[in-house]
Symmetry: C2
Subunit: 180 residues, 2 copies
């Protein structure tokens, strides 16, 4: 299973590709950050995020895209940009028929560290260990994107069983698979 | 000046096209709503919004796109969908090099009714009068999209002078024009 993790943001959008299956050692295929200039117009920044995500999808052809679920409890100004960048990432994936999964920050932290309240350093340390890297990926957005991808690989079996059960028991349920 | 107004939303995204210049009677060229099913996956809904906006851009070839500026003071769940739908509208416009303008709800109300605290019925009544329609456009999202387009036509001369002044006095300012 090859997953592109996206830690959405307008200034720095973390991206990381991880391959593997639950219970086996994982492999990092790539990690980076899509940046857009803070003084550019919002529309142009969204186009730049789209171009960056498209490049990562073209290069790595992931089977799943895992995006951090955005909440609006945080800083008002930041959360709008985060929601808009996440929309672009989800749009790029869905347009190609790639399933998109959303994971909350605490789900991601719990998956890689065992605690939903772990700090950035702890997440970075575990990502480094799990992917057998020589140093924690920088910036933190890049490490978070890898953590999202790892979280998805480890949570996916349970989620897929749930989706299959929902599909079986509800004739009205919309398709959870690829776009036609 | 031909403007596509967009009242962003995932369930109902209002769209309206108005042509004219400040100080002259305005003409409505089209009005409608892009709808996406509430039970579809978020990624698929964003793709549907994109396809709807693209159709309106193709058909009417607007010179400007005016989108309602989203604030996060409102309902948490709604505002995320609104921010994400607005991101898709801005992305579609910026990708074509069409300038995008954001106007706040109170700017729009003040432009068409004279009061920033006008209610929906008052906005609908003024849109009907200003565009010489036989009845207020339904649903309210469609009327709001037309109000956004009218607001942009009336505010644009002042905004353009401001942008030119900023461009002249700041060598570091990013281009406010079309994408290269």
């Amino acid at each position: 299973m090859r997953v592109l993790g996206v830690d959405p943001g307008l200034t720095r959008c973390g991206v990381g590709v991880v391959e593997g299956v639950a219970g086996r050692p994982l492999t990092m295929l790539g990690v980076g950050v899509v940046r857009t200039p803070a003084d550019a117009e919002l529309g142009h920044r969204l186009v730049a995020v789209e171009q960056g995500i498209e490049m990562w999808l073209d290069e790595h052809q992931p089977e799943f895209v895992a995006v951090e679920r955005v909440f609006s409890q945080h800083n008002v100004r930041t959360v709008m940009g985060t929601a808009q960048a996440s929309a672009v990432a989800m749009l790029c994936a869905a347009r190609r028929g790639i399933p998109v999964a959303l994971h909350t920050p605490s789900e991601v932290k719990a998956a890689v560290t065992g605690s939903g309240r772990a700090d950035k350093a702890q997440v970075g340390a575990m990502v480094t260990r799990l992917l057998r890297l020589s140093a924690p990926p920088r910036p933190a957005d890049a490490a978070d994107a890898l953590a999202l991808a790892i979280c998805h690989i480890w949570r996916a079996p349970a989620q897929n069983r749930l989706q299959q059960a929902v599909a079986l028991h509800s004739a009205k349920a919309p398709s959870k698979g690829r776009l036609a």
